[in-house]
């Protein structure tokens, strides 16, 4: 496709780009500078010597891996039911999915906390995983359903004509074609879960801090170069992830 005509925005409007970017990035730069306070790496060394931080990181990875795995599986079934098969619960699912997409995280958090208390479930990493699945599921469904609707159904029909049963069509034709969308859904679910603060804060119970909750607790007791070092390190990870995501972004189009 050739590049379309794009008349430049007026100069006055273009001025907004550097202003906004400066407002977004200047604090980050100040924070990174602050993490080297006194021009030493001591604050970073201190981080690696703190076992509670490592445990929090481990918890975050565990929670994000389990909730991303489970929500991706649920999202695949949901998307297939919504887009491919006759499914009696289609409308309730659409409605509930939209509600969870629109619901402020705060309301989701407190309602799950209330529900766990009614069920007498003790708060733990397991309740966090359950809560995170509900949080990320609609996004995972959106990604997989979008791919399903843009997929050519003729391939599946061909498989059926050649005598494949529904499970065979699913496992040998549909799912392989969905692979890029499944990977994107898993990645996004992992990131959303790993990054989440509020839902975790409400549903984790004492002594189960994930990394963002731990960072929050540290910041509550005051801003130190150590906190800034931890934040800078986590920032570095997200920058890396953005670059990876943009580089390996799934290609659009029927075959990929």
């Amino acid at each position: 496709m050739t590049e379309r005509i794009r008349p430049k925005a007026p100069r006055a409007l273009q001025m907004i780009l550097p202003v906004v970017l400066l407002a977004l990035y200047l604090p980050l730069v100040v924070m990174i500078t602050g993490s080297f306070k006194g021009w030493t790496l001591d604050w970073y060394i201190e981080l690696f010597q703190d076992p509670t931080l490592f445990q929090a990181l481990l918890r975050s990875v565990m929670v994000a891996t389990s909730s991303a795995t489970l929500s991706t599986v649920l999202a695949i079934s949901a998307a297939l039911a919504l887009e491919k098969f006759v499914f009696a619960g289609r409308w309730p699912m659409r409605i509930l999915s939209t509600i969870s997409l629109m619901l402020p995280e705060l309301v989701l958090s407190l309602s799950l906390l209330s529900w766990f208390s009614v069920l007498h479930w003790e708060l733990s990493l397991a309740t966090v995983v359950v809560a995170h699945i509900t949080l990320v599921l609609p996004f995972a469904i959106l990604i997989i359903a979008a791919r399903l609707t843009s997929m050519d159904a003729a391939v599946e029909d061909a498989a059926r004509d050649l005598g494949a049963g529904e499970w065979e069509v699913l496992s040998r034709v549909t799912l392989p074609l969905l692979k890029p969308a499944i990977i994107s859904a898993f990645t996004l679910s992992f990131l959303l879960s790993f990054d989440d603060f509020l839902v975790t804060y409400y549903t984790n119970g004492a002594g189960n801090d994930t990394l963002p909750v731990k960072l929050y607790a540290l910041m509550k007791s005051g801003l130190s170069p150590k906190v800034q070092a931890l934040s800078s390190l986590m920032l570095l990870v997200s920058v890396g992830l953005v670059i990876l995501l943009i580089k390996y972004r799934p290609k659009e189009g029927p075959e990929s």
Binding site: I5, R6, P7, K8, A9, L13, Q14, I16, L17, V20, A23, L24, Y25, P27, L28, V30, M31, G34, L74, A75, A78, A81, F85, V86, F87, G89, P92, M93, L96, S97, P104, E105, V107, L108, L110, S111, S114, W115, V118, I133, L137, I141, G165, E166, W167, E168, D195, F197, L198, P212, L215, Y216, K220, L223, V227, S231, M234, L235, S238, V242
Partner: protein, 279 residues
Amino acid sequence: MTQDKSAVRFLGWAPLTWYIVFLMFPLTIVAATAFATRGLYGGIEWSFTPANFARAFDPLYVSILMRSFLLSLGTTFACFLLGFPFAYSMATASERMRNILIMLIAIPFLTNLVIRICALKAFTSFDGPLASLLTLLHVKFDPYALSQNGPLVAFGMVSTYMPLMVFPLYASLERFDFTLVEAAEDLGATFWQIATRIVIPSLKGAMLSGLLLVFIPAMGEFLIPDLLGGAKVMLAGNLVSEQFLKARDWPFGSALSALLMILLSLVVIAIRRLEKRVQ
């Protein structure tokens, strides 16, 4: 292979059951709790009383809800005022520049909010650059109030939610046929006419999603006022969280969040109406 077919059809029930058990039931419980009373030790005593809602209409709580509402509205408005020219300039830049800009706006967006707040705190701390700048300009200020105040909360909200406004606007402008603008220019339209008659009408859908994407999370925001506002800037998110996590008055907290949801729904309906009228 009819047996196979029916088995495949059961797939949808797993996620639907999940939504019913872990979304519908929890929301129903909150609605029910809003009419219950607080037990002696912070538990819930099931009853049916409007007392929690009556208490929520105390001027103190109404003012907090109103403040959240106005701040969210202001945030949405500011995000649009900044986000529109941003998305416009972005969509009309060269392809290389567009990719760079997408990355530059995606990085802070995908960075954890706690980290960005930490950065703002570092920037506004008593020995930070903002304090030095103000000293240099001989502006009098309280160095310890610099990192916890209302304007900082507003700044935090706008800088956090702006990408959510930019993304849909950009996606729409990226597909926008700019030859229309050129045609209008040839016919002598002013910049203002081009903006209001051609660009904005074709962006309505994106604007609507941008408004909702910013307004809804802004109404329930907890972290920004909690860390950047201190005790002085209480917003709905903090008020509700206080009931759930500190005061352990879940019935009152539930009533407050029910009111929050009603307020949100009203805004969503109003926006939808407005959209229809414009058409």
